[in-house]
């Protein structure tokens, strides 16, 4: 194990029959692991016989290699010549257009105290994130109509504010599955936080701890679960876990055992995503970057902008003859995560298995219609999260707020049987209050926290929560209510016209 490897040696193991990769100057033999990789073998083979650090690190928790690759496949360190050569290659690699843009944006980042709304922070994140990461975080299904409609749904609900009520003291505290939360909001799971900030999801854990709200940790968090537990402000800080069931139940059971042992407090099983939605923004990002480089190179060559006069050489491909065989499979940043997912989840098998396997409270994440909400209530789970995955899954899935509204009107009894949450499209304190008026116990936000850490790290998380806190308190006061129980359906009205939203 103490043996040092040269780059030449590694280079020879550059294919599926013998596939070595270098990560942080250590050499690993991943040949046998290839078929097990949740992200598929293809993406690993791209780095066969080469350094994979830059691609590997931002999307894998630190314990991933220890957990999934047997010790004997950890072949040992690269020799110093090789390490130096890799370092030099990295240092001399010319910057891409995208890297240049990001650098400038980082230098000019607006001070955090100028962030007045969640949209402000999102705007900063968009400027500061590498295009591919932005595309991954922000993307949604097909034409992103559902993504937009999730948000627009809130704009059709207006308030009936009540006046002449004492509102000096406002209590925003909630309980979620019995756990205290300073606000009726929580962090909905989102993966790959290290793409946005080197400390990844740990920023969220710390920020939530400091502000007293609960984080739901993604199954595919890029920070390991023990690290996230360690990032809590104290041992009493609750954390929820979001589970993607594996088609191999024993693997899922192992995960559940880990999260129970680590002290997670609830399991949110995602039911709307057995397969990933068609996230075109994510899928297009590599093409767009490639085109950007091509144009920049042309511009340099022509000492001008490419255009009518600039000579742009023909594309080399003869695309007509290059159609891949078989069913069309498209893979973006998100595409890699789910190749071992259970596609055959069911009410009669998966859910009872989960109820047998864990003692933690169970919430179904991704209920999208009244019928399934009712069935969930009958099945004995502790809660449901009305969600269409932030519009990332089925395009034209009804906006969660509209589902909530229908559930309130058609089956108000369901709210007595379990806790109902909602996520998708929330940008303002008034959005939270509308959902609570209609019966939601709490409201989740996903992307907002990834944008927050991408723009400002942990401080961004705190600022995000503070903005919502301020807006929720203000909204409650102006509604004439002082605690969450007073938020009732009579305070909202669904109107029959569609307000104009500037930011869409």
């Amino acid at each position: 194990m103490a043996r040092l490897w040269s780059l030449q040696e590694v280079t020879q193991h550059n294919n599926a029959s013998s596939c070595w990769v270098i990560i942080s100057n250590k050499v690993y033999d991943v040949t046998e692991f290839l078929p097990e990789h949740p992200g598929g073998s293809k993406i690993i083979l791209k780095y066969a016989g080469r350094d994979a650090t830059k691609a590997y690190e931002p999307i894998h928790p630190k314990d991933a290699l220890d957990k999934h690759l047997p010790r004997e496949k950890h072949l040992g360190p690269l020799d110093s010549t090789g390490a130096k050569q890799l370092q030099e290659e990295l240092a001399t690699q010319p910057k891409t257009q995208d890297e240049i843009r990001v650098e400038k944006a980082r230098a000019r980042r607006r001070p955090i105290n100028q962030m007045l709304s969640l949209q402000d922070i999102e705007d900063v994140a968009r400027e500061m994130l590498p295009h591919k990461t932005w595309a991954f975080y922000r993307s949604a299904g097909d034409d992103e109509i559902t993504y937009n409609e999730n948000r627009r749904a809130f704009s059709r609900f207006f308030f009936h504010p009540r006046i002449l009520r004492p509102i000096s003291r406002v209590d925003t505290s909630a309980t979620i599955l019995g756990f205290k939360s300073s606000l009726p909001i929580f962090v909905s799971a989102a993966s790959l936080g290290k793409l946005g900030h080197p400390l990844g999801e740990a920023n969220i854990t710390r920020g939530c701890g400091r502000m007293g709200i609960i984080q739901m940790v993604s199954h595919y968090a890029s920070v390991s679960r023990p690290e996230l537990m360690a990032a809590r402000v104290d041992a009493s800080q609750p954390l929820f876990f979001q589970l993607y069931p594996d088609r191999d139940k024993s693997k899922s059971a192992k995960v559940l055992r880990e999260v129970e042992e680590l002290g997670f407090n609830a399991v949110f099983m995602t039911v709307d995503g057995p397969v990933n939605g068609n996230r075109e923004r994510d899928l297009r990002a590599p093409f767009e970057l490639e085109e950007q480089e091509r144009l920049a190179e042309e511009a340099k060559r022509n000492s001008g902008k490419p255009g009518e006069s600039g000579e742009l050489p023909e594309r080399p491909e003869d695309a007509d003859n290059k159609l891949v065989e078989g069913e069309l499979v498209l893979v973006g940043t998100s595409g890699g995560l789910r190749t071992t997912a259970e596609l055959d989840m069911s009410w009669t098998d998966t859910l009872p298995w989960l109820q047998r396997t864990t003692k933690l409270p169970i919430v179904l994440k991704g209920i999208q219609c009244v019928e399934d909400a009712v069935r969930a209530a009958e099945s004995g789970v502790h809660g449901i999260l009305l969600s269409n995955h932030g519009g990332r899954q089925l395009e034209y899935s009804l906006p969660p707020l509209e589902v909530l509204y229908r559930l309130r009107k058609q089956r108000p009894d369901v709210f007595d049987k379990l806790e109902v949450y909602i996520d998708g499209g929330i940008h303002r304190g008034t959005d939270v209050l509308k959902a609570l008026c209609l019966g939601a116990r709490a409201v989740g936000l996903g992307r907002a926290f990834h944008f927050a850490i991408s723009a400002y790290g942990e401080a961004g998380v705190i600022q995000t929560i503070r903005i919502l806190q301020r807006e929720i308190i203000l909204g409650m006061r102006l509604l004439g209510v002082t605690n969450l129980q007073e938020l009732t359906p009579e305070l909202v009205e669904r109107v029959d016209w569609q307000p104009l939203l500037a930011k869409m």
Copy 2:
């Protein structure tokens, strides 16, 4: 008291333990007043030991120092060297980008006889006002959706004009709480008029007097109440007073005594604004100006426009570590006004107290739903103003016209028990007529008059009223009615589509 102070002496009292300020070359010791300042101590401390004239004058009535600061704290005049030095500093201070822009706009102001609509005047005001003042006047809650919806609501109501009716003689006169008005409109309270014109709200008083309509004076008018009374065209000109109840009832009682003694004719108690809404346009204005200066400076340094090539230095802040502690508090131009406001208003305490304390007719300003309108009718007040504060308070408060429409349909009896007014979104004579058809007795306009004085002073007020007068008379004629009593619900229809509005 006759002693003269040097700038050096004043400079030493530059903190909370001893805080002196210079206003119009006079020195004041405001140390003990700091906690009582309705706008908070922070904004005063910014000028501790310094000249505060430029910031103080446009937002305070002339009698403010006499009323609120004991005589012994009026320390006396600055010496002539100091006064001269201040004047020089003022004269040599370079102009900001915003000041340059405003100067140009003032030079090119369009003649008032080209102002055909209220929107025209607003457009001139936007060009002529300093950015911060514009932002304060124009701002509304959150994303300004309510602000826009207030206006859009009118566009969903169409007329059923009647023909073959004699319309040569049209009588637009109304009574409001028994007081004659030449038109069914009044000025709704808005504060800080001197930011827009040196004579501030007195322009409105005079203009209203000349045109025979009634002004509701803001609790926070920047012109003193005696001055406004003095500005009336004659002693019979009615004035209404808008009250923000103080958490110290004795202070409010003192205010009420003053307004009664001065001869005000009614009290409009604001009930929708115990705390200020989230007016982001107002809050952002300082950041935007700062950024504008920064960019202009850079442009000068690079002798070109800042951009891809221009070298813009990194921002100095490391924002991540600069999060303020505690709950997020944001303060714009409007933020300072309300720190002593009564947050615990109630039907059972505040309203009976007011009814006991004043003999003037009482109107509740800021009713936002049918239920509260009904309760107001039962509580014995003389009128209600359906209003969401021009969209400046709770985002997604139902547009007043929609509340009026619901009140007319659900509880027509309320209109027999008290007078119902409406404000928010009115730009045209037809807007006024629609509200009257649905049962409003009169219609208030707030921002319009601040824009009017900002653009043209008193003449702007008169032109604004004349435009509305012309539009109301024309609208009545084309509707086939000759007095306000003939404006009935049958003449309007709420349609099921949303017309397109060009100006939004």
Copy 3:
């Protein structure tokens, strides 16, 4: 009378006590006529003692002076020196920006065979017309919402086309008040055609004659009624007359006598326009032209475009002090026409008087709600034109198509008692067919024909009718109907969404 006048002599009669004007090198004393001028005295006084030809000719029929000014006030011709001087002044007058623009547009006019739709012709007219004329023709009330909604209303009605019906032979012929029309369309009255084309409304008369449809001649046509009668293709060509009742009934009676004697076939009495609407586009046009000239002059002086650097002198006016006294009166091109209009029209006086005074069929033009349609049916008129004057009168008058739809649903019996027409917003053959399906007997177009003559003279009229003819025939075929009687309510459906219209 044979005496010749010098310019010097005329110049001395330059005020209200003695007001002479020159028109086409003839001198007239209009002093006593000033108060009788339907367009008001002000506009005449602008030319007192001067040549008024350019302003007079395009808006007055040739017989106007003979009809309204006594012979003895026709003072006789200008002397040749004066005539020459006027001609020179005209020739050396520099062209305005607007005149230059129009000249270019005329030179590049697209060939008429490229005009495929009414919108095409309108686009050409907009480019070719002087700004003031365009503004007058195109303008509508307030913010032109009604103008736009008139058109948008049609887009909410969809067809249920029927298939497998023989459609080779299509009969589009209609009768209107018993008069044959080749198509179910007619020309709705619009005034001042000579502003758009030297031959004015006579182009329309001839084009209608050639294509077999009926023209309703405006009370304020710029071509005299005898000339229009003479322009007919033959004596059997019907013409309708549109009447604005004068407050002096004897004047109206005289007009009616004239039109009866000349052989007009029906009277459309306008009931929606006792006073003109607030047509801001029209009112603004002079200011806009003035500003355009000012900017052009500045640009020349600065040899560059006016802007940040170009020194634009301050406007000379001190507008604050220049408010006109009294009620606001605004006058555009249209403003002048109506100063003697009857404001006190009524069902009990005006209509019976008209029925007594003429034997021609009577149509009420400008019915805007179901109630008035019903009353009209009871009052014995022959027809009603559902119209809001093309959106030129009351802003937010319900679109005529929506009134028609309500009339069809609420009072289908009215269609049996009189003929129902509609105008406003029609641009396509399908618009015509929708109205007919809902019960309209024919459909009027006003502006379209003014645009047609402005762009192409008589040929434009013919092309306009041909385009509609083609669209109507095509629409009928694709609907599966072969004559107008088969156009029934079942073929249309009012949908509950609003289609997007590109051109708005």
Copy 4:
């Protein structure tokens, strides 16, 4: 026949009394054929005495001359001098602006594997196609409102996705009229494929064969029917035929005999297009190209862009005097196809005749309302295609999806009597699934396949089908269904608001 012709000889036959044309270096006497040409004689006469190859080839199947022109009119080959001269003329002809644009677009075509959606392929096709061809393929009736509404209709239907259902195995196979299809989609007929790709519709035949879906071949395909049959992947590949009935039934019978003998499997009789709609985009294309050339030439002459300063000569036409006589007839690329169409189709004649004349299953293509769907069900046809011809016929024909929705609600029994298909506006797999939920058996796409071959030939067809396949499978999984029978009305909801669509 072996005689060679010189260009001089051909040139003399340049009019209607003797009209020769050259096609691919062969000379034809088409004098007697002129009145029979389905596209009218005018378009042929344009090439009388000249080479017509470039215009002829892309819109005629190879067997057209053999089928429609008697052998003795095939006069024989051009001599080699003439052929050479024609070739030279072609080679030296300067390129038009449009040709230059297309050439560049072809050189930069994006690789096919970057095509993620049908819209992507359409975007490539728009860039690559000659303007006239794009205009013909893409055009729709009048203002293309129906075209847009067809698509927008889908956006008003949302899903109620069901969770916890096993979805690993998804079966997308359908039967259409008893024929197997791998997906519930088919190619709806569209003509003139060779305008977009030299191999024309044969690309579609091959692509469909490879992917297992069925093509409906246009009556006016530009590739001959035998060639298309030959292009099938094997003899079992089904093909449908789309019929435009001729007013001469014997001609239609001959066509039906041919398609039966060739082995076509069904007849779709088009009933919504006895005459062509008003496709302005198509009609305008020649004017637009002409204007483009004119401007380019001017730009060259002025060595700058035409504009204010550039001297653009006046148009030569005096359009006023050039109105064509008679009814307005407009002819675009599509206009030529239908001059012998049967205008007098009927339920009582045309349909029984068709049922007698062919044994193939019959589908009525172009049903646009519930009433006709019911009548079709009673008439014994095998299927109906709810379609408004992609918006190319009657503007404001109700969108097919809305007709389907009404049919499902009002007459669900119809779905038991025949197969119901739909086309128009489909761009996504979710669109297909919505139609199936409402009862459609399969969904047709027309333009999409023409865009596909225009951009990428046969590979484009395959990519188009694969994209839809991927989207349909993904959509089914995310809906929780595994075969088409599970797609039921409960899974969709028509909402009462209109989502925003970015691409419109």
